[in-house]
Symmetry: C2
Subunit: 198 residues, 2 copies
């Protein structure tokens, strides 16, 4: 193997591309924060980032592609935390504590990224089978099993996933003015009761 770059000058270009992508993603997140997901159009994003609209389309293909990129970044970060991060969300805490932490952190996540999840949820019927949903369904099922829940932990995990759906949480927050603390307390009650009766 040679240490001489095969195509000299390529590395800096790649770094530029990565920087550019980061810049665009940051601008997109800012736009969503200010105007909601509906305000995030390809044109608005190009304006905000100070690049041509063509650049934005070349990078993400379409508005849906951009949404998916933003969402999968946000999901990947959340996955990293519940799989490898510090307890109680990550490994090392008792299963009930991890279940409680999962819901609490997920509610905060929805507050931050829910609009995006809502916008990307167009093919609603398949939302249960996207990799992120499958992964955290499994995670909840594993925690239920560890906590001694033997009554169909797979379906119980499905029910718990339903409770944490972005749309429902956003609706409670925005339409009914429910505070995130109250949502978290109710989640804690729910999983505690399920586990306590195990």
């Amino acid at each position: 193997m040679s240490l001489i770059p095969i195509r000299p000058g390529r590395e800096p270009e790649r770094r530029d591309a990565a920087r550019n992508r980061e810049l665009l993603l940051r601008a997109a997140r800012e736009l969503i924060e200010e105007c909601g997901a509906d305000g995030l159009t390809m044109g608005a994003l190009a304006n905000r980032a100070g690049v041509g609209k063509g650049t934005v389309f070349r990078r993400f293909g379409s508005r849906a592609g951009l949404m998916m990129t933003l969402l999968s970044d946000a999901e990947a970060e959340f996955q990293g935390r519940f799989m490898f991060g510090p307890p109680p969300l990550g490994p090392g805490a008792p299963p009930l504590e991890r279940l409680v932490a999962f819901g609490t952190e997920r509610i905060d996540w929805v507050l931050e990224f829910g609009e995006l999840a809502r916008a990307a949820d167009v093919s609603a019927y398949n939302r249960f089978d996207v990799p992120a949903a499958v992964l955290w369904h499994r995670h909840l099922e594993m925690l239920l099993r560890e906590a001694g829940v033997t009554a169909d932990p797979w379906l119980m995990s499905t029910s718990l996933s339903a409770v944490l759906e972005p749309e429902r949480i956003l609706h409670a927050l925005r339409v009914h003015g429910v505070a995130t603390e109250r949502l978290a307390a109710s989640w804690c009650e729910l999983v505690s009761r399920i586990v306590r009766a195990a």
Copy 2:
């Protein structure tokens, strides 16, 4: 008050209209049964019922209007049963039994009308505030209170409503091949654990 009809001949016409409406609704239900909600177009309905397409549009306004009519018929029938029907779904049984019956019967309802509910759910964000959803949210909350659940029964009812959402139930049934009996058993576990720990 006169007993003489103000507009003679109107009654038979009304009866005709009602018969016609019933006929169209029956044809629509058959079409959904055979082809799913996607197969229910205004043209297909006119064909099946042997009337002109104009009649169908005059009666229901649009495909969405037809869906809403069918759905509200189905919801009204279900409401009648849980509010005034025989126990354990209707009044007269202990609250936990009524909660169990509610989920079990709702799962069966979804099996029958879920495709319709799914098709009518276009403005998904508002689906939590349609009268039927508000009514059975209140019903679940009341049963939780009667069963002694004092921990935020309003939000607990929201969580239970999430578990019974048509899309999720249909997904479990169709994509994962979960039997309705298994869904009902899991619902029974869930509400029993919530109430038992009250």
